[in-house]
């Protein structure tokens, strides 16, 4: 295959970026998108040019490193697919492909296609945990967890923290990410004790970090590589409201 690439290049966080055009011949349809970029980079380096900086690690849609905005979609074509699972067979020979970083105020570009997603870590620090020390835990079967709740909690817990939901949202809201964690823990007896505090603190942190508010467009759900549904946003809203009321009491 032969393809044309339109890739965002930006030297560092402060620099002004711009699109750079590349033509690439000899692309194999079996290559993954990442392997195609590796192939491009090998070529650029040998020609004495700057390679394109981008992130990837597991190549199995589980670590959440990869984060490319391909032809207007976070993680490119295909539903429930992370960038590292996109293969070149999804594109036509001769296609022009535009590749950008996540665009969101709270995810500043570090270089080319790499962004800083530290804000997600900060939201987690604000309350994405259960307060239990090593050695304090009761028997895992002491608190029974019904299969339905366990499965639902797992569904929410499958979030890989990639940030595609933020990149997909016109308001750059992190609500789906927060909803996933708040719901997972609120569904389980172990997480219920701190559920209120958690919902309030995580939402407050999200707002503080400059993420926009949720206007229920559902764009996040459509692009989430793990199929995290917006029903969890409804659950977050309930948890949050309930927590706010009891706070006010």
């Amino acid at each position: 295959m032969k393809i044309k690439l339109n890739i965002w290049k930006q030297a560092n966080a402060k620099a002004k970026g711009k699109f750079e055009k590349y033509e690439l011949d000899g692309v194999d349809a079996e290559m993954s998108f990442i392997e195609m970029l590796d192939y491009l980079n090998e070529k650029l380096i040998k020609e004495g040019k700057e390679p394109v900086a981008f992130e990837h690690d597991c190549h199995e849609a589980i670590c959440g490193c990869c984060s490319l905005y391909i032809n207007g979609h976070p993680h490119g074509p295909g539903s429930e697919t992370a960038t590292c699972q996109v293969h070149m067979r999804s594109f036509k020979d001769g296609a022009t492909i535009t590749v950008e970083p996540w665009r969101a105020k709270s995810f500043p570009v570090l270089k080319d296609l790499m962004v800083d997603r530290n804000a997600f870590d900060k939201i987690m620090t604000a309350g994405g945990f259960v307060s239990i020390d090593a050695g304090q835990a009761p028997d895992a079967n002491a608190n029974l967890v019904g299969k339905i709740d366990a499965d639902k909690a797992f569904e929410a817990a499958a979030c890989i923290g990639c940030g595609a939901c933020v990149a997909a949202c016109k308001n750059s809201s992190a609500t789906l990410f927060v909803a996933a964690k708040v719901s997972q823990l609120a569904l389980l007896p172990q997480g219920k004790v701190e559920a209120k505090r958690r919902a309030l603190n995580m939402v407050a942190k999200m707002d503080e970090l400059g993420f926009g508010s949720c206007t229920n467009t559902g764009a996040c759900e459509a692009e989430c590589p793990k199929g995290i549904g917006i029903d969890f946003i409804a659950k977050l809203n309930r948890e949050y409201l309930c927590a706010s009321f009891s706070e006010a009491e």
Binding site: N12, D28, E30, M31, S32, E35, D38, E42, I45, K46, G48, K49, P51, A53, E55, D57, C58, H59, E60, A61, I62, C63, G64, G78, Q85, H87, R89, L110, K111, M114, R117, N118, F120, D121, M124, T125, A126, G127, G128, F129, V130, I132, A134, G135, A137, P138, A140, L144, V145, G146, K147, A150, A153, F154, A157, A158, G161, L185, L188, G191
Partner: protein, 639 residues
């Protein structure tokens, strides 16, 4: 050759750990806040260790090279985590788990450590559950369990095919809590480039900030390495592309012994290489072998589509060779059998380097729905990568590098031969002997992190209370930083023509050919020569664009590849020295009449611990003799 002291406590096996814990030195809560600990790595070993030590009151600094602690490669573990809880009332016990691991490891692991790992396994599940890890549950609300290869009980806890993600996020959340409380400090996007030794003790590390390129010096009373495995030595493996052996090599070059470097597990069921630019292989969980049947055509070079090949024209070679265990033989056995078929021309697919894993009979018997319930996410992952639907067409699989049983040699305290330098998780030479059983790596890493290192590190620190952390301006720190800087400058000044990845790929090829699933003396000797040549070429023809004072992914790769090259030599040296076959280490010269692996217990019942002797010098071998007092050493047979 000197003998190594593993510091195994006296007393009966089942009482060693509890008695030892009861007599360990303690640090009072008041003194803990005066003591600093560095933990490098945030996987299933590092995150829990950092969190647990911080919970106790120590000041903990945690490092990882990814942008977030949550991305450590533990996140990719699929199948499950073992615990001897006897949940199924099927006769499981701590002893049985211990026994299975000792046997599975082909009698090359240390009894006391393995027993302790089994002993704390149940507490791990309690801890993770309390953190909100959504393990699979039965309708009644109790934990669900599944069975893994090489054992006869159901002791594996799981969260669909994403167990690693869930247990890692449990550890990550515990760490987040300590960060929130100000007891732990996170340094992400930092690459450790050296250990600093002051007065013979590990006292800190040198790191490079991967965003600014700046060098940083960090000092502490103790350093814990939880930096993972080095299966990426083969270039193509099931590990993340950035997984590496650098931290272990830095420690090795500073005097820490390296244990059994050549013990590397090759996993039988991975998606085969699809194109020459491939940079990673994807694991298909071992659990698939419960229902999938492995076969190749009986006729050499048969190029028909698999569904056109009738049963009588198929060779179900595992069922044929190992009637008792069939498709569920341990990983090393399954991998070698597949390679044997492919080497003899019976392999399938474009490259001939693949065998079929067929679900036709299982789908017929159990229906699509049941199969989907069990393996849905794996089948979907397979289809995404290959474009083929495994419900209709058999999967194609081939073995790939997966897990390193070898690693930094540690004593019972998980301390390396450098005082104050600990190694936990996959980074140490661990409890898996020459072959790891499924679902026991998460168990070991989490056990090290939550329940073992917190005690043993404290025991060490008890003697450090009055010692101040050295200044990062002390000569040892300055010298270490200067050395690291000089190496980076050297990389950048070569200005050759070949990229770091291209060297890695070639190194991987050498290692896979000569030090992969099958090894022999001639091949290994050839490998030593080829690695040495590659090393020369690397240091004279490497190209890295850009500078060291910015984000430079090529520079990061080069540092890893340089260490891989030296590690490769160490692996081959170890493989040459061990002239027996054991577990994953198969020496062609040492097999039984029927072609199976043959251990030589009277000569090789030891851990090989290698000591660095200087650049390009042959390392010195130390032996830790293994004593088996609680199990009878037998031939592993799966016929």
């Amino acid at each position: 050759m000197s003998k190594l002291d593993a510091k195994i406590p006296e007393g009966p096996l089942a009482e060693k750990w509890s008695k030892y814990k009861a007599t360990m030195k303690l640090v009072s809560p008041n003194n803990r806040k005066k003591l600093d600990i560095i933990v490098v790595g945030t996987g299933i070993a590092g995150a829990p260790a950092a969190a647990s030590l911080a919970e106790m009151g120590y000041n903990v600094k945690v490092f990882c090279f990814q942008d977030s602690a949550r991305r450590a490669h533990s996140v990719a573990a699929q199948g499950g985590i073992n615990a001897s809880r006897n949940n199924k009332n099927d006769g499981d016990s701590v002893y049985r788990l211990f026994y299975d691991m000792i046997k599975g490891g082909d009698y090359r692991a240390r009894e006391a450590n393995v027993y302790r790992a089994a002993e704390v396994s149940s507490d791990i599940i309690d801890q993770l559950t309390a953190q909100g890890v959504p393990f699979a549950r039965e309708y009644g609300g109790t934990l669900a369990n599944r069975t893994f290869g090489g054992v006869q009980v159901s002791r594996t806890n799981y969260a669909q095919g994403q167990t690693g993600q869930q247990v890692l996020l449990g550890g990550y959340s515990a760490l987040k809590r300590q960060i929130a409380l100000g007891k732990a400090q996170m340094f992400s996007r930092q690459q450790m480039l050296d250990v600093v030794i002051v007065d013979g003790k590990a006292r800190g590390i040198i790191t490079r900030n991967l965003i600014t390129g700046e060098m940083e010096r960090h000092a502490a009373h103790a350093v814990v390495l939880a930096t993972g495995g080095y299966g990426t030595i083969y270039y193509l493996s099931t590990l993340a592309v950035q997984s590496n052996g650098s931290a272990a090599m830095q420690a090795f070059k500073k005097g820490a012994f390296f244990g059994n470097p050549s013990f590397i597990q090759i996993h039988p069921t991975c998606i085969p290489v699809l194109n020459e630019y491939q940079s990673k292989l994807t694991l298909m969980s071992e659990s698939l072998r419960n229902d999938g049947r492995i076969w190749v055509p009986k006729a050499e070079g048969d190029k028909r589509r698999p569904n056109e090949i009738q049963d009588e024209e198929r060779d179900y070679f595992l069922e044929r060779r190992y009637p008792a265990f069939g498709n569920l033989v341990p990983r090393d056995v399954a991998s070698r059998a597949a390679k044997e078929r492919c080497d003899n021309g019976y392999g399938v697919g474009k490259t001939g380097l693949a065998v079929y894993l067929d679900f036709r009979d299982a789908v017929k018997k159990q229906g699509v729905k049941v199969i989907k319930g069990k393996y849905g996410n794996l089948f979907a992952m397979y289809e995404k990568i290959t474009g083929e639907n495994p419900y209709e067409t058999p999967m194609m699989i081939y073995p790939a590098g997966h897990y390193t049983m070898g690693g930094l040699w540690v004593d019972y305290n998980l301390m390396t031969t450098i005082p104050g330098l600990f190694a936990i998780g996959e980074a140490n030479f661990s409890e898996h002997g020459a072959n790891r059983l499924g679902a026991s790596a998460l168990m070991q890493g989490a056990g090290d992190g939550y329940f073992i290192a917190p005690y043993t590190v404290s025991n060490y620190l008890a003697d450090e209370i009055t010692n101040k952390v050295p200044s990062t301006d002390s000569p040892e720190f300055v010298e270490a930083e200067n050395n690291v800087k000089a190496t980076l400058d050297k990389f950048l000044s070569i200005k050759g023509t070949q990229t770091a990845s291209s060297f890695h790929k070639r190194l991987g090829h050498i290692m896979w050919t000569y030090a992969g699933m099958q090894r022999n003396e001639d091949g290994l000797k050839k490998a030593l020569v080829e690695i040495a040549d590659l090393k020369k070429e690397f240091w004279s023809d490497l190209i890295i664009p850009g500078t060291a004072s910015e984000i430079n992914q090529e520079l990061e790769k080069a540092t890893r590849v340089a260490d891989f090259i030296d590690l490769a030599t160490l692996i081959v040296t170890d493989a040459l020295n061990r002239k027996e076959s054991c577990g994953a280490h198969f020496r062609e010269e040492s097999r039984s009449e029927s072609g199976e692996a043959m251990r030589i217990d009277d000569k090789y019942s030891f851990v090989a611990a290698w000591e660095y002797q200087g650049e390009d010098k042959e390392p010195k071998l130390h032996k830790e003799d293994l004593k088996f007092e609680n199990v009878e050493v037998k031939v592993r047979s799966y016929k």
